[in-house]
Every structure is written in structure tokens, then in C-alpha cells.
Symmetry: C2
Subunit: 427 residues, 2 copies
């Protein structure tokens, strides 16, 4: 299967493949050292194959990621076009250009082979979700993710680009058809009705799931969010920015796995990250009870990171906006003829209303992402791996309540009152 | 100038052109009757050339519309790509398919010649704006325009198509680069600052124009609307649905001139039409005073048409939604697994919130369109042609006040209270 010229790689053929691409081979120590190379498949994701290729010495490594024409964890019975690899590659390249400290460099994108070769994020980088589950804290996380989101979202938006450039970029990028469709199904539809893919800790959560699935106001809220997802082409998003798409050390943070990238509402990325912080937050008492661990320090850090991420995002977004300043043409959202040469009160007033809308969107999408991770097709290990079902269900119930609040009352919540609400759901 | 193979037509060569296209020739009585044909250029628009070609008998006629690579009323010094003709042709064809009673049939779209040949809307069809200025009333107008908008906007939206189909349609259609840029300039930017293109009845309006151009809340409102215009790809719009883009008799109504068509927010089309009704409404007392005409009947009709258009639009939009019913897949906004087989209370609640957002958008865009037609580059004859500057300025001031209210307070206005506000501005 796959298009002409496509061959699925394995741990042996990936070495020849790496040797055949000049700039990959040179990262690995040169093609002449090929015989000393080795590869390991580490794809822990559900969808693709990921190889770590180690070259002439232990510090010469690259990642080779290949997308097959089907969903990895299901097999050929769930086909998925390899177009997603182009979207991932283009989004990675653009995000690296905008924010090189938080996105790995791409060495090669190969359409025919549906393969991306990129920088290997060396140990001690690990997937953030794993670190959090182990009880680690990442003091720089809010600063880094806030910066990553502010930069990638601002720079790909109408604010930075103006209408004309935004339209060109959107048209050239395309629509990421398959991945958007998948999102519409698993986030915005199935959790709110009877679907074979749904599952939850049962019977403990049956009552609240049934409430959620029969709540007219929640259905209205999820449909509004779904329409926003479908129609609001505001910026080039990561599209799947959960804690499994971030690789961290205590001092560094990288976003990977942009295969769901599309032009959509900024709040969808922000909400994804915030939701995953909250899912981890509500899992704390579960891990504490099951393993007898003291999670209080991590608990505080997670809540602080929630608040701090938004505040870094907002500050850095506005800093970039103010730095760019007013535009001389009519294309942008800060034209000089309207606002004068400086950034005056009038522009500040628009900036506040802009950020407020992004805030409301972010909370709404966060709520939707929390709910789907507890009752939809794909759960998160933070909660799912809590061994005791009773204890797990208690955590999940709190998270469901919080998710519901976020979806229904986003526009009434402030950065202060949302924390109160989060804590109230924990009781 | 123009691309290879492009020739600008004139009243002579347009006959040979018509004869050379089989299905055009046959509407005109067959190519063999070519010697009895004649043509007349009637383009009263600012941008393109429009020929009425009359064939073998007076009832055999077609319209040939050609777009030159520049703006007609300015000349080669304002270049404009001919891509707009493709957008116009595709939007016309789609709108005719969706709503054949209110859109002329296209016989030929010729890329190379940047030409559209379409049905001639025979007398007594005239441009609606002209009819209104003459004092005519059109009893079917609200019903027809409400139906046209409900049908074209519903059928090209995520509601009718689902996300996947909407994304395909959007990508295939493209972005109508030039025309969207023009709109951003003349509607969403220039009127709110000092721009050479701006002009108004001066000195009478100088005070209110200066208020408008220094009002921070209005700048915030126009920037929010501009961002919505740039990013909210909700449905395939006409893009320029003012009373100069409608041709009517007492019993028929057709939308023409889709060259600004793009995927945008539904409220932008609805607002354009509502704004032009209100501009006519506020011109009434001016015409009455200047010409001693009794305009009271037309005045009532315009206000009724304003109200009635929204109510027809809303009813017909929801009828189509309910008729289509729930979807078996996850692609749309009314999935069966979420709402059940019928259209229950939960879906109705979402429908109400959807229509409320379209309403608010429509009023906001209407306000912006009113303001730009009085202080921006392109005015409307309804007001502009009132001969006495004092009297004209009185009308324009009322319209500016109303436009400002609509932009600032859209979300607080209901179909009832908006009428009170419109009347209050008239005092
Ligand atoms: N650049 C990288 N450096 C180090 N490890 C990586 C890198 N990219 C991916 N990985 C590893 O491979 C796993 C799967 O990669 P990912 O891009 O998330 O694939 P999928 O699309 O299948 O989810 C990641 O969880 C991570 O462990
Ligand atoms: N299908 C038609 N039937 C009759 N008259 C038409 C038709 N299309 C255009 N016209 C006439 O030509 C004029 C200009 O057409 P329009 O499409 O508005 O061109 P422009 O894009 O230059 O504004 C209209 O105002 C109308 O008088
Ligand atoms: Mg992944
Ligand atoms: Mg992935
Ligand atoms: Mg589970
Ligand atoms: Mg016209
Ligand atoms: Mg036109």
C-alpha cells in the first residue's frame, strides 16, 4: 500500500534511507560511516512510526518519522492519507522558523516516502506527560509554552500578516482534511452521544456521563465550539498541543508532532495545553492515594503553570503586537491611519477585546478536551493509569465537572475566578 | 494589457464573440442571424464592462460582462487582476444552482477573455437602488432576498455540507484576493482615519466625522468586524449585496455582480442588504423635502422590509436546517448520535444561539456599511444625489448615528428594539 515510490521503512532500511540523504548523513557522521549506524523504533504514538537513528558516535542522532497510509494502532482497516505528513512537515518548518528554541529543526521532508527527518531531542528530554505522571515539575514550562504559543499564533495571524498574506498562506497550506475530520469526530461529536468508541470508568461515572450526554446546553456549547473549529481560520495551529506533544527537560521545552496542524481558532491550541494541565491536576489525589506519594508540590506547580501560561501568552502576544506596531497599509488590524503612529489607547482597547475573545475560546476548548479525554475514544495516561477504579473515577468526576464549567461559563470566568472554580471542582 | 489571448471587447467585436460560442449564438437565434444583431454597453458599475447583445429578434438577448485588468472608472493606473471574473462566475453558477429563481443563469464563463455570458434580465427589471430612488416599492423584496440569503448561505455552510465538504469547497474556490483586500481597505479601514479617498458633505458633517474618527470604541468595533471578515469562513457570500447588485420588478428579484464572492461570515451579506435599506430609509425625508414628494408609503415599506427580511431569512434558514435534519455521520453540526433522530429541544437551543450570532454579526456589518457609504470612497446615490447639501447632510447625520449604534450595540438589539433605535435616530 501507499503511493508509487513509497516503501514502509524498518530498523534496517531506515539506515540506508538516512545514508542516501546528504544532509542527514552528514549529521550522522557522513555516509561512509554507515556500517556503524543503528536504529530503534520508538513510536509510542497511535498513528506513525518513529525511528531514532544513531550514527558514527552516540551524540550523532536523528529522528526519522514515517506516516503509513493507515492508523498504526488499528492497522490497514483504518486508512488515513499520507497528506498529513506534508501538513506536519510544513507546520514544523514554519513553527521552527518562528520559534526556534521550542521546535526541532527539520532536515528533510520527503513527500514520496511520507517521511520527516528532524533533530533528535536527546535525553534527558522526555515526553512531558510521562514526566508529569512520574511526579516531576518543570519550572520553565509556562514560560516556554506561553512563548511558543504567543509566537506561532501571533506570527501566523492576520495581526502579523495582514489579510492578503494570511489568505495566501492559508490557501497554500490547505485544509488538513483527514486530521480535521478526525478531530471533529472524536472531540466535538462522539462524547456527547452514544458512540461505539466512547468508554469510561464504569459503572462509577455512568451517572455523570449520562448527564453530560443529555444536557442540551452542553450540546449547544460543543456545537458552537465545533463550528468555530470548522470556520474560524485565525492562525496556523499545532492542532494537537497536549502534554504528549511536548518534550522537556527542566530547562528546555519542544513542541513536536504537528500532524493536526491547520488554520483554526487560537484558543484551540491554548485550550489543549490548559486542559492537559488540568487533567494532570485532577489526577494528583489519585496518584497520591494509590501510591502514597506526596504530590502537593506538583499540584501547586500545575495550577501555577495553568495561570502562568495564560499570562505569559498574553504578555508575549501583546509585546509582539506592540513591537510590530502600526502598519502603513490597510491590510492589517493596526493601520496607522486609524491609530496614529504610536500604540494609543484606542488600539489598547481593541487589544483587550481581542485577548478576551481568545481567553473565552481557550477555556471553552479546554473544557471540551477534558471531557473527551475521559469519556471519548482516547484517554490520557495521567488518569487512565491510576490503578484503582474507584479512586480513578473520583479524579475523573472532578475533571468532568471542571470541563463542563469551562464549556458552559467560559465568558464569565476571569484568570482569577477560574482558579477558584478549578479548586471548587476538586472538593 | 491582459493575459495572452485576452482582447478587450467593444460593441462590434462582442457580436463576433457571441456568434463564436455555440450556446450563446443559439440563445440569440443562431450564428447565421449574426448580421441582424446589435450591442450596447450599459456598464453603470465602476469596475467592469457590460454589453447587452440583442439577437435575431428583440426578445433574444444576453448579457456579456467583461473584466479588464484594471478598475474601469479609474483606468490602467488602478490595476486589478482578472481572477475576480472566475470568482464571480463560480459564485454565480453556485448561487443559481442553489436558488435559481433569484440568480441569472450563466451560459459561458471564458477564463482567457475574462468574460461571463449570462441571462439578460429584461425590462422592466431595473437596478433596485434606481427604483427605490424613484420612489417605487417592491412588495416581494423581503421575501425574495430573505429566501436568496437563507438558501445560498445555508447550503454553502458547514451546517449543510459538514466540515469535510466545506473544507473541500473552500479550498477549490480560493480566496478572492484582490476583492477582499479592496473591501478591507474601503469598508474596514479608511473611514476610521484620515485617508485621501474619504469625502463627505462638508462642512456640515465635519463634527460627526471627527467624532467617528476619534472614537476608540468604534475603532475597536471595526477592527473586530474586520478580523471576522478576514478569518470567519462560514459560507460562500455574495460579498457586495447592496441594492445596486439586485435587479427587480414588482414580482421578481435577482442578485447579480458576485465578483466580491468569498467564504466569509454570513452577517456580511445580510448586513450589506440591511444597511442599504436603511440608507434609503434615511434619504426619504431628503427627497421629500427637495422634491416635495410624498414618501411616507415607501418609508413604511423600507422599515417593514428591514424587519421582514431578517424574519424571512431566519425562518427559511431554519426550515432548510430542519428539513435536512440530523446527519448520520460526525461531519455536520446536527449529528444524530448527539441529537437523536428528530429535531429535539437540544438542537433548537443550538439553532437559537446560532441565529443570534448571525443577527449580531449582521447588525454590526450593517453599521459599518452605512458609515463607509457616507464618509468613505464610494457613496450611494440614495443620499449622494439629494441636491441640497443642508438637507442631504441632515439625512446622512441620522444614518451615521444609526450606523454607529449598530456597530457598538449590536449584541443588545433585538428585532423589535432595533426598529425603535432606527426611528429614534430619525428624529
Ligand atoms: N524529535 C524527537 N526527538 C526525540 N524523540 C522523538 C522526537 N519525535 C518523536 N519522538 C518520540 O517518538 C514518539 C512518537 O512521536 P510523535 O511525533 O508523537 O508520533 P505520532 O504522530 O505517532 O504520535 C514521541 O512520543 C517521542 O517519544
Ligand atoms: N444579467 C443582467 N441583466 C440585465 N442587466 C444587467 C445584467 N447584469 C448587469 N446588468 C447591467 O449592467 C450593470 C453593471 O453590471 P454589474 O454586474 O453590476 O457590473 P460591475 O461589476 O461593473 O458593477 C448593472 O447595473 C445592470 O444595469
Ligand atoms: Mg504524538
Ligand atoms: Mg501525531
Ligand atoms: Mg479508560
Ligand atoms: Mg455592480
Ligand atoms: Mg461588480
Amino acid at each position: 500500500t501507499g503511493p508509487p515510490g513509497f516503501v514502509a521503512l524498518d530498523c534496517e532500511t531506515v539506515l540506508d534511507y538516512a545514508a542516501s540523504r546528504h544532509n542527514v548523513a552528514s549529521v550522522l557522521g557522513g555516509a561512509s560511516t554507515r556500517n556503524s549506524w543503528s536504529a530503534q523504533e520508538v513510536g509510542d504514538g497511535n498513528i506513525n512510526f518513529v525511528y531514532i537513528v544513531t550514527g558514527a558516535s552516540a551524540d550523532k542522532q536523528v529522528i526519522v518519522k514515517q506516516g503509513l497510509p493507515f492508523v498504526r494502532c488499528v492497522g490497514e482497516s483504518w486508512p488515513l492519507t499520507q497528506e498529513r505528513v506534508r501538513y506536519e512537515a510544513e507546520a514544523l518548518v514554519q513553527a521552527h522558523k518562528f520559534c526556534p528554541s521550542h521546535v526541532p529543526e527539520v532536515y528533510v521532508y520527503d513527500t514520496k516516502m511520507a517521511t520527516i527527518v528532524m533533530r533528535y531531542l536527546e535525553p534527558p528530554h522526555i515526553i512531558l506527560r510521562g514526566g508529569i505522571i512520574e511526579g516531576k515539575v518543570y519550572p520553565k514550562l509556562a514560560e516556554h509554552v506561553g512563548e511558543y504559543m504567543a509566537t506561532t499564533l501571533y506570527k501566523s495571524s492576520a495581526l502579523a500578516l495582514g489579510g492578503a498574506e494570511l489568505r495566501r498562506a492559508r490557501q497554500a497550506f490547505g485544509q488538513n482534511e483527514d486530521m480535521c475530520e478526525l478531530t471533529e469526530q472524536v472531540i466535538f461529536t462522539e462524547p456527547y452521544g452514544k458512540a461505539d468508541n466512547n468508554h469510561w470508568t464504569s459503572p462509577q461515572l455512568d451517572d455523570i456521563v449520562s448527564e453530560i450526554q443529555s444536557d442540551a446546553s452542553l450540546k449547544r456549547a460543543i456545537c458552537s465550539l465545533k463550528e468555530k473549529f470548522m470556520t474560524n481560520a485565525q492562525a496556523l495551529l499545532h492542532g494537537d498541543l497536549h502534554t504528549g506533544s511536548l518534550m522537556c527537560t527542566e530547562t528546555t521545552t519542544f513542541a513536536i508532532d504537528h500532524e493536526f496542524a491547520f488554520y483554526g481558532p487560537m484558543g484551540f491550541d491554548i485550550g489543549a495545553f490548559l486542559a492537559n494541565l488540568l487533567l494532570a491536576f485532577y489526577s494528583q489525589s489519585g496518584w497520591a492515594k494509590c501510591n502514597g506519594e506526596d504530590r502537593s508540590k506538583q499540584r501547586d506547580w500545575l495550577l501555577e503553570t495553568f495561570t502562568e501560561t495564560w499570562s505569559v501568552f498574553e504578555r508575549r502576544f501583546l509585546e509582539q503586537w506592540n513591537e510590530q506596531g502600526v502598519r502603513c497599509d490597510c491590510g492589517g488590524l493596526s493601520p496607522q491611519i486609524m491609530f496614529g503612529k504610536e500604540v494609543p489607547e484606542a488600539l489598547q482597547s481593541y487589544q483587550r477585546s481581542f485577548m478576551q475573545k481568545v481567553w473565552v475560546d481557550s477555556l471553552g476548548f479546554a473544557g471540551a478536551k477534558m471531557i473527551r479525554r475521559i469519556i471519548g475514544i482516547a484517554h490520557v495516561a495521567d488518569l487512565d493509569k491510576i490503578p484503582d477504579a474507584e479512586i480513578r473515577a473520583q479524579c475523573e468526576r472532578k475533571a468532568l465537572k471542571c470541563g463542563r464549567e469551562l464549556m458552559l461559563n467560559a465568558s464569565a470566568l476571569t484568570p482569577l475566578s477560574v482558579v477558584e472554580m478549578i479548586l471548587a471542582c476538586e472538593q
